[in-house]
Symmetry: C2
Subunit: 478 residues, 2 copies
């Protein structure tokens, strides 16, 4: 019999059917629909949709850093080098980058791992950050950190023989991890962060998770997200030491998602690289993948798709296989690489761009700290809400008590109570946040993730809308 | 026993060890080494390395299109909108694109499939190209066409049950295909192009290949590269019709790599989409993936990583699964998307940029035609060489007779005769081309691929070097 279609839900790669990505999931779909309805004049109890579903910094109101944008413009169009509107240090920076591009064009392919100049600057940045020498040969640029995280996870895929491989990830987690594990057919071994202790990472829980997964899986890697996404905690040095020891004892490859390392609010950031080094042997000899990005921090250039990773102490042949697989897709975007160069080597004192750069960066950090405080205070003042301090990242992940009547109503609609809550919030206030189930949460608890980078007015409007909605919701369902 | 490393060649995803990518393989490694030796003053029988290994247009000397670069610059840095050096139509174009970016920033994420504006322009481009309506919802932007080809191939990955899936690809092929099939663990079913008939695609050979592969595989898809890479042929309408019928009869998903459709030298390009449409039912109802890029053609912006695909008539749930998997990696670079906008909607008559754009594009086409003629004439004048006409693409893929003594010498070194030949060519002349074995070739035949976009002087130097080298090589080994 002739097939209707060559690819059907029955014969497509079944892993793809398991991929979920709540950040761009049904809630966002509905939000976009509502935006279209508003344009058409459909009456709503609100004037506009507040998108708080995704850490899309510029979309939320964070301003691009002028220095980065000037570098990008001149790198793309060196004819504009004569422009009097662009400072000399920008022109010098662009010239240095173009000197490393074949025939001085950002339209030429770069080496697969990235321009050598940019990799060297990234290594210098890490060396300064950690006080530990870094080698540019360990630096790999990518189309966002996500691209590199997927590439590293791909190394753990295995044939059918033997125990299926698993990767430990935190719950709550950023769904890039669950989504990518699903696509690659890798098992997900959950370890729960301790909400009662500011989302602390307890080694006893790592041990429990590992034991449970090891019954029928081979646990290969341990993912740590620090600062936490969606949870906003920042790990202490002592905690990182415990985690490293745990990984060492269980032969786990450490994947440190450190993309929010420049979004620090109230606690110092310690890199896994530095802590490993300070612990000395055998820990200082362990493999490590650390992920960094231009999409977050003060650069916040999500749309450029520019991230990078440091992969240290890989077996030589493993590094070669990793590099060859990357080479098949040629190289990451060269304009994105220019942005990496700006973030790892920002303007320095004495350069013409320095004062403006400092002012812009200071402003970004100030806004982040203010919003984090507002979110923390507001959420903890709403009955039935609780929210841990936001020490880093750009998210709040408050816990919400959902009345049993509302839970039943959700069940009747075939959705989870937190989805029900977030959909109602969207329909009644226009505020678009992501249900906790999209990140994972302890059974019986309910949360949502909201970004906190909005302008003060918009953020206050959002906080007020949530409070008002929740009180009404309680009245309706209690 | 404590493992030395968490990831080793024994426990890494074994598929990764099978990935080969000759275009950036050992020959390039050696070429880069030689370049460093030249800098150090190591004496060589040549002054510089001629890189002809990769279709890296700007690196070879093709000039960027001014219009594209001006659009990129202003999109990155709208402050420069007031620059008197940039024509009004560029400013208007940029404003339209920024209006479609959230908060007018290219630093905001776009929808996963790309900016709606750009997708609509791409659909309009296809509609005009084929005289067949295209829908923007079928357009997916990516980080180069390679990214999208990999994403489509991922749909064919399958669990261990049943016959393993296979994909038919031409031989010679572009090693993105073999490399990606290896990584994904998909079987490669080779069909040979008919070198004796200008690299024609014979349906009898498709049939043979399908029959052979079907013994122990489930052949899911058929890849066509048109214009051919590395082979440079352009398929006739009749041939495309036969191929479509073949795919229909065997329930094969058609993947048309049409990235060289703007690199047309002497024969008209027919898209699979248009031919399918003209054939009418049932063929006009078939699924199809067609791949397009900004990296080739007159734009030639390899470094931007901007490609796109049209996926038509996918089952609704299949399209949804494809989209969700794409969403996990957020979106392709927005600056790359700006370049897509420029290529699918170039300046039109009456716009200020139009005359310069036309002049630049004309020049690019002229160079391509001249080099193709030079390559064809030169290669066919060298004893032991033969080269089919180059009707499209930017490559020549001459066949070279390698004396038996040289074949034996290669065998002694444990490399293939064509690798031996290309390495000797590199060492003696500095010319870096890619051995035919990197693309696949009929057993017992030897080829190499060279790009043809160099400046006239450099290209003539390369042709002369190859001729001189070959005659010496023949004297040495005959």
């Amino acid at each position: 019999m002739k097939l209707e279609k060559c690819i059907t839900v029955d014969n497509i790669n079944q892993n793809l059917l398991n991929v979920k990505y709540a950040v761009r999931g049904p809630i966002l779909e509905r939000a976009l629909q509502i935006e279209r309805e508003l344009v058409k004049g459909v009456p709503k109890p609100f004037k506009y949709v507040v998108r708080a579903n995704i850490g899309d910094c510029h979309a939320l109101g964070q301003k691009p850093i002028t220095f980065i944008r000037q570098v990008l413009a001149l790198a793309a169009c060196p004819q504009l080098m004569s422009s009097p509107d662009v400072p000399e240090d920008v022109k010098k920076r662009v010239q240095n980058i173009l000197d490393d591009c074949t025939k001085s064009s950002v339209g030429s392919y770069s080496p697969s791992a990235g321009l050598t100049l940019v990799r060297k600057h990234a290594a210098a940045y890490l060396t300064a950050r950690d006080g530990v020498p870094a080698s540019y040969e360990d630096i790999y640029l990518g189309s966002g950190a996500s691209d590199l995280i997927k590439a590293v996870l791909t190394m753990f895929v295995k044939d059918a023989d033997g125990k299926p491989p698993a990767v430990m990830i935190p719950i709550p987690q950023y769904p890039l991890f669950s989504g990518t594990l699903s696509e690659l057919g890798l098992r997900q071994a959950n370890y729960y962060l301790d909400e009662e202790h500011n989302w602390a990472l307890q080694v006893s829980e790592l041990e429990r998770s590992w034991q449970q997964a090891s019954v029928d899986s081979h646990v290969r890697a341990l993912v740590i997200i620090n600062p936490g996404n969606p949870t906003g905690q920042v790990l202490t040095q002592e905690n990182i030491e415990e985690i490293i020891k745990f990984a060492y004892d269980h032969d786990l490859f450490l994947m440190a998602d450190e993309v929010y390392q420049e979004n620090i609010i109230s606690k110092p950031f310690h890199s896994f690289k530095k802590v490993m080094h300070e612990m000395g042997p055998p820990y200082s000899g362990m493999e490590l993948a650390s992920f960094v990005t231009c999409s977050k921090g003060w650069a916040a250039e999500c749309g450029l798709r520019a991230g990078w990773a440091e992969l240290v102490r890989l077996q030589r042949d493993v590094a070669a296989a990793f590099s060859t697989a990357r080479a098949v897709l040629q190289c990451p975007t060269v304009l994105g690489q220019c942005a990496v160069d700006c973030t790892v080597k920002p303007p320095s004192p004495g350069e013409a761009s320095y004062p403006q750069f400092c002012a812009e960066r200071r402003d970004i950090h100030r806004v982040l700290a203010e919003r984090a405080a507002t979110a923390y205070n507001t959420f903890n003042s709403i009955p039935g809400y609780s929210c841990n301090p936001i020490d880093g990242s750009m998210f709040a992940f408050p816990r919400v008590e959902i009345p049993e009547n509302a839970q039943r109503a959700a069940l009747e609609q075939g959705i989870s109570p937190d989805e029900f809550y977030c959909l109602r919030l969207l329909e009644e206030t226009g505020v678009c946040v992501v249900p906790g189930s999209g990140f994972g949460q302890k059974p019986g608890t309910f949360h949502f993730r909201t970004t906190i980078l909005h302008s003060r007015e918009e953020f206050q409007h959002m906080m007020d809308s949530i409070r008002h909605f929740h009180l009404q919701f309680l009245r309706q369902y209690s």
